[in-house]
C-alpha cells in the first residue's frame, strides 16, 4: 500500500506541476531513474507511455531456442559433420548463425513429434520455405525481435505499431472488436492494461508465418498473448505466451528486453523488401533473364 500511496503522491504532484505551467515542470528535479523506484512517463489517465522506437538485440530472429553457433541456416551432410548447403555456401561467415541462450522458458519449443519433424524439414529446405526470404509479412511475435526497429504510436485511446521490416503494421485495438473477421499475416491484436503492463492478445493468424529462421512453424490456431512492461525509461520487458493446439503440447513462453533506439536521428527507414525480392521471385520471367545460379 505504501508504494501505491507514493505513486499516487508523485502522480498528483506531477499533475499539479503540469497545471502550474511549463516553466515549473522544466525546473522540477528529474524523477528517479531505474530500479524499483522507476516512475515511467504517463498519460493523464495514468497509463505508461510506450511511445518510441524500439528494437530487440540478440539471436532470437535466427533461432528462438537455446543454440550454439552453426555454420549456416541451411546445412547438408559433410564427410565429418554438417556443412553449409550449396545455396548459402558463398555467404561464408556472413551466413553463419550466431549462438544464443534462447528466449524460451525451458529452452525448447514443445512441438508434438509430427510438428518437430516438419520443423526439421523446414530447416533442411529453409531457403525455399522461410517467409522472411520472400519479404512476406512476418507475423507476431517474429516482427518484434527481427533485427529491425519498430515504432509504437500511443495516445489516450490508441496504440499502433509500425515495423521497419516489410513496412508491416499492427493496430492494437484497445476495445473489444469481437473475434477476427478474417485471417491475416499479422493477426488481429486486442490490447488491455494489466496495471502498468500492456497486454495484447493476438489471434486470427493465417498460419503461414514462422517464429524465426529455423523452421519454427505454427498453424492458424496460433494465439499469442504479449506483455509489454516499461522496465526503465529506455527498455521494455517483453513477454509472449504462445499457444497452438495444432502443433504444441502445451503453451510456452518467450521473454526478452526491447531497447529504445537512442540515436537522436533514429527513425523507421524504408525497407520495402518487395522490391528487393523481385529478382528472386520474378527474375526468371524477364525477357532476357540474368544468370540464376553460380553455375550458369
Amino acid at each position: 500500500m505504501g508504494s501505491g500511496d507514493l505513486l499516487s503522491y508523485i502522480w498528483n504532484v506531477k499533475h499539479w506541476l503540469a497545471a502550474a505551467g511549463a516553466a515549473l515542470l522544466l525546473a522540477a528535479p528529474p524523477l528517479t531513474a531505474q530500479g524499483p523506484g522507476f516512475e515511467p512517463s504517463r498519460f493523464a489517465d495514468g497509463k505508461p507511455d510506450l511511445n518510441g522506437i524500439w528494437q530487440a538485440i540478440g539471436s532470437a530472429h535466427y533461432d528462438v531456442e537455446r543454440h550454439v553457433a552453426r555454420s549456416a541456416l541451411m546445412l547438408r551432410d559433410g564427410p565429418h559433420g554438417p556443412l553449409p548447403a550449396v545455396e548459402v555456401l558463398a555467404l561464408g561467415a556472413v551466413g553463419a548463425v550466431p549462438g544464443g541462450m534462447g528466449v524460451i522458458e525451458g529452452g525448447k519449443i514443445p512441438y508434438t513429434p509430427e510438428a518437430a519433424k516438419l520443423r526439421e524439414e523446414n530447416r533442411a529446405r529453409w531457403i525455399e520455405r522461410d517467409p522472411e526470404v520472400k519479404c512476406y509479412l512476418p507475423g507476431v511475435p517474429r516482427a518484434v525481435y527481427m533485427p529491425f526497429p519498430f515504432q509504437i504510436f500511443q495516445n489516450e485511446s490508441s496504440v499502433f505499431i509500425t515495423y521497419e521490416f516489410a513496412g508491416a503494421v499492427r493496430e492494437i485495438y484497445m476495445e473489444d472488436v469481437g473475434p477476427p473477421e478474417t485471417d491475416a499475416w499479422m493477426g488481429q491484436s486486442v490490447g488491455s492494461w494489466d496495471a502498468d503492463t500492456l497486454v495484447v492478445e493476438v489471434t486470427g493468424f493465417n498460419g503461414q508465418t514462422w517464429f524465426d529462421r529455423s523452421g519454427t512453424h505454427h498453424t492458424n490456431q496460433l494465439k499469442v498473448i504479449e506483455r509489454y512492461s516499461l522496465a526503465s525509461p529506455n527498455h521494455i520487458q517483453y513477454e509472449a505466451t504462445i499457444e497452438d493446439p495444432g502443433v504444441f503440447t502445451r503453451p510456452w513462453k518467450i521473454s526478452m528486453p526491447l531497447y529504445r533506439r537512442m540515436e537522436p536521428d533514429a527513425r523507421i527507414m524504408d525497407f520495402k523488401c518487395v522490391e528487393f525480392v523481385e529478382e528472386l521471385i520474378y527474375g526468371g520471367f524477364r525477357r532476357n533473364p540474368l544468370p540464376r545460379g553460380a553455375s550458369e
Partner: protein
C-alpha cells in the same frame, strides 16, 4: 535551433489553448486531435470536367445526379448475370474500366463512395482548386515528353505483343522494374499513399494516430504507414523514400506537413524526385477533416497546383492489405508477355 522551435511553438500554442471554447476534439496538450479512421472515397474527380469551366461548386441537383449515376451503375453491375448468356469471346469482350477486358473485377470490389463532398455546405466540381479551372497546370517540355513515353508504353492489353511488331525497345513487359508500382505491390495505385493522398477506386481508408511528436497515417492499400515527424528537419538529400520524408508543424489549429526526398518514382503519377508536397489538415466539423495540398514539381508542371477535399470519419476498421504475399498476377503478367512474344516471333517467321 531547437530552442527557437520551442519558443515559436509556445507563442502559437498558448493563445490557441486559451481560446479553445469549441467542440473540436483536442489532445491534452491543446492541439486539435485528428486521430481516427477516415473513408476518403468520393465521386468528385481530381480534375474538374471541362464543361464546368471555372465553376467551383455544384448545385444540389447536379450533386444528386452525380450520386444517382454511380448508384445506377453499381446496381446494374450487381444485377444477376443472364444464365443463358454465351461465353465471352476469346481475348475478352472489349469491356473497359476496372473490370478490364476479361471481367477481372465486378462491382463488389469497387468503392469510390456514394456521392461527392461538400466544403462549407457547397458541393464541389473537383478536388483541384488552383488553377481556377480545377485542372492540373500545363506540363513542362520534359513533362510532356515523359507523358508521351508513358502513353506509348502503357496500352490496354489486346492479346498481342505489339512492342515486337513495332520494334519498341525495351518492351513494356521486359522487366519487373518497368511495370507500374501498384502492379509490383510497391505502392497502392493512383496516389492513394501520396502525398498528395488522393481517392481511388477502392480501399480508401486512412487511419491517423496522432501523438505530440508524430502523426502516423496508415494508408489502407499496401499497408503503407506515413510517419510524420513533428518540428523536425528533413532527412539529408541522399536519404530518399517511396512516400517521401514528411515533417510537420502547427499553424494555429492547422497541421502542416512538408514532404520532400522522394525516389525517382513517387506515387503521384508523372511526378519526379523533385516533387515537393505541402499538406494541411484542419477540421470542418466534429466528424470531418479538411485535407488540403499543394503540389510542386517544376520538372513536370509549369506551376504549382492545389486541391482540397473532405475526409469523413468512419467506424470501419482497416483490414490487412497483404498485396505482395498474394501477387500471383505479377508473375502471370510477365509470363503472359513472354508467350505473346513467342507468338509474335513465330508469326514473323511465318511471314
Amino acid at each position: 535551433m531547437r530552442i527557437r522551435v520551442l519558443i515559436a511553438c509556445g507563442v502559437l500554442w498558448v493563445p490557441v489553448w486559451a481560446t479553445a471554447a469549441d467542440d473540436m476534439p483536442r489532445t491534452p496538450s491543446g492541439r486539435p486531435d485528428f486521430s481516427g479512421t477516415y473513408d476518403i472515397a468520393t465521386l468528385t474527380p481530381l480534375q474538374r470536367p471541362e464543361r464546368y469551366g471555372d465553376k467551383l461548386t455544384l448545385t444540389e441537383d447536379e450533386a444528386a445526379a452525380l450520386a444517382n449515376r454511380e448508384a445506377t451503375y453499381i446496381a446494374g453491375r450487381n444485377a444477376p448475370t443472364d444464365p443463358e448468356r454465351a461465353a465471352p469471346p476469346q481475348g475478352g469482350d472489349g469491356s473497359t474500366g476496372a473490370a478490364g477486358n476479361v471481367g477481372g473485377y465486378n462491382a463488389f470490389w469497387i468503392d469510390r463512395g456514394s456521392g461527392g463532398f461538400q466544403i462549407d455546405g457547397k458541393w464541389r466540381t473537383s478536388i483541384i482548386t488552383d488553377p481556377a479551372n480545377g485542372r492540373r497546370p500545363p506540363l513542362t517540355k520534359a513533362g510532356t515528353a515523359a507523358a508521351a513515353r508513358r502513353a506509348k508504353m502503357y496500352r490496354p492489353n489486346k492479346g498481342e505483343a505489339w512492342w515486337i511488331k513495332e520494334g519498341v525497345e525495351p518492351g513494356p513487359y521486359d522487366d519487373p522494374e518497368l511495370r507500374p508500382l501498384a502492379e509490383r505491390c510497391l505502392l497502392g495505385f493512383g496516389s492513394t499513399g501520396g502525398p498528395p493522398m488522393l481517392p481511388v477506386l477502392y480501399n480508401n481508408l486512412k487511419r491517423i494516430v496522432q501523438t505530440d511528436d508524430h502523426l502516423m497515417i496508415l494508408v489502407e492499400m499496401v499497408h503503407d504507414a506515413r510517419i510524420v515527424r513533428m518540428n523536425a528537419e528533413h532527412a539529408p538529400d541522399d536519404v530518399r523514400s517511396w512516400l517521401g520524408d514528411s515533417v510537420g508543424h502547427w499553424e494555429g489549429d492547422t497541421l502542416v506537413i512538408d514532404t520532400t526526398n522522394f525516389t525517382d518514382r513517387p506515387a503521384l503519377s508523372g511526378a519526379t524526385r523533385n516533387l515537393h508536397v505541402v499538406e494541411r489538415f484542419s477540421r470542418l466539423d466534429e466528424d470531418t477533416l479538411l485535407y488540403q495540398f499543394t503540389v510542386e514539381d517544376p520538372t513536370v508542371w509549369t506551376a504549382p497546383w492545389s486541391g482540397e477535399y473532405a475526409w469523413p470519419a468512419t467506424s470501419s476498421r482497416v483490414y490487412e492489405y497483404a498485396c505482395h504475399e498474394a501477387n500471383y498476377s505479377f508473375g502471370g503478367i510477365l509470363r503472359g508477355a513472354r508467350i505473346l512474344e513467342q507468338e509474335a516471333l513465330a508469326q514473323t517467321d511465318d511471314d
